[in-house]
Every structure is written in C-alpha cells, then in structure tokens.
Amino acid sequence: MNAGERLTDANFPAHPEKATLEGKNKFLGFWLFLGGETVLFATLFGTYLGLRNMHLDGPSGEELFSLPLVFLATMLLLTSSLTSVYAVLSLKQNKVRSLQGWFLVTLLLGLGFLGLEIYEFIHYVHEGHTFTSSAFGSAFYTLVGFHGAHVLFGILWITTLLARNWNRGITLSNAPKYYLFALYWHFVDVVWVFIFTVVYLMGKVG
C-alpha cells in the first residue's frame, strides 16, 4: 500500500503511527530527541537556580511575579495538552475531522499562552527587569524565553501540518507526524510544569 493513500476503516492498522519503518524510526528518533531536550532544559534550569537571587538593583522575582497570571497560563497549556491527546485518540479511530478540530483547539490555547507570556515580558521590561539588567534577568529570559520559543515552534509546526494535510485524511505517512507533534506538545507542557514550580512558585518563597 502507498503510504500517502487515505486509510479506510477496513484497512486501518492498530498503530498507524508505527505501521511503517519510517514511522517506527521517527517514533524512536523523536523520543531520543526529547531525552536530549530534557538535558538542554536542565542546563538552563541549573543556571537559573544558581543565579536567581542575583538581581542587582533590579526587581527580584518575588516583587515581579504575578501568580494569578502565571496560573492562568498554566491552565491554558495544561488544557491544550489534554486536547492534543484527544486528537491522538481521534487519530487511532481514523476520525480526521475530529483530529483537526482538537488540534485547532490546541493551537488556539497555545496562542493564548504565548499572548500571556508576551504581555508578561513587556510588563517586566517596564518594571526594569530586562535581559541585561542582571544575572537573574539573563537566566530568567533565557529559560522562560526558550520555552516560549518552543511553544511558538509548536504553533508553527501544527499550523503547517494541518494546512498541508487538510484534505488528505489519515495516511500512513501523516499519522506519525500528527502523533509526534502531540508528544512534542506534551513535552513542552512538562517543561512548563517545572518552570511554574521552580521559577514562579519558588520565586515567591525566595
């Protein structure tokens, strides 16, 4: 069977994302990538934890952070993680319209999160907390900004993936792509759980 052929309910495999060798390779390769990303974020977390109290004359985290705003952002991202797993459930049932719907909701929630983060950063810059204001500033923007860049990348990824495959149904070629995007999105949420805890909550207790 051609990998680009639209799957029907009759020939739908149990694991469309791993039904071809290419899909299997993508699956393994992507998990290795996520293991590497974990280490990459660890370097940023380690640096931030070491430098978080060195704010010089600028405001400290305790003075800056607004927990309700961050809490709202956390809820948006957490819900978007759920909607992306719903999309994967639709994928397993060959329901392409429902898959597209759930990924669109994921996309909107991701945009909402990014909007809140941009608003937050602009607010901090006005408070005198910039990338160059102190070691705390540099470490903060590197860590949180790098996560934000991951969200932005995810938004671009799912937008192009949906647009390119809009009328193609679910195929053996695009099933691994949808599946891996969902993995990526969950991973971005995993990192955020630690940013919420380590940067914001721990920032409030000094």
Binding site: K18, L28, V39, F194, G206
Partner: protein, 114 residues
C-alpha cells in the same frame, strides 16, 4: 435468512473491533483522570505558596514533589509510556532525566562555590 449467518472470519473481526473500542474508551477515561489530577496538583502547589501558611523550605520540597508526580502523569498517561513497545523511549527518557539531574546539581554547585 441466509444473510444472518456470519462467517467465522467476520465474527473474529467484529470481536477485535469491539475489543479495540473498549480499550480506547478506557484510554480516554485515563486521560480525563490524569487531566483532573494534574489540575488538582497545580492548584495544591499554587495554594501551598499563595496561602503562605507552610514554612518556605517545606513548601519548596512539597511543590517539587508535586511537579515530579505531574510529570509522571504526562509521560506515562498522555505520552503513552505505559503502553506496549515503549522500552526504548523509557530508556531514552530515563537517561535524559539522569543526566539532567546531574547537570542541574553541578551547575548550581559551580555557581555557588564561585
């Protein structure tokens, strides 16, 4: 009435399909439970800090533990690490997490001692 008698092959196929539907239903339930748990863990962590009633050092340990629990929900339920055929990903992530822990500890140590 002839069309009521099913050949064995379609019966097996139907049986498999019902099994699969049930498994997916179960999976959806796990995803929902996991979502509610993660929301609750986030709220608990938030209030542990917001209420200011718990001593700082205990609160830090407490919220870090909650974060680790949440990550396990994400990895095992939402990212399907609990499913069959995930030995390689588990090893990949476990080694990533191990190196990550060493990295965080050594970077913090390096900055503190300098």
């Amino acid at each position: 009435m002839a069309n009521h008698t099913q050949n064995p092959e379609t019966t097996v196929h139907r049986h498999e399909e019902i099994q699969r539907k049930l498994a997916l239903k179960e999976e959806r339930k796990h995803h929902n439970v996991s979502f509610v748990m993660m929301i609750l863990l986030t709220i608990v962590a938030f209030f542990a800090i917001w209420s200011d009633k718990i001593s700082d050092s205990f609160a830090v340990l407490f919220i870090l533990t909650l974060a680790v629990v949440q990550v396990f929900f994400q990895l095992y339920v939402w990212m399907h690490l609990s499913h069959k055929g995930h030995d390689f990903p588990i090893w990949g992530m476990a080694s990533g997490i191990l190196v990550a822990a060493i990295t965080v500890a050594s970077l913090m140590g390096l900055i503190w001692t300098s």
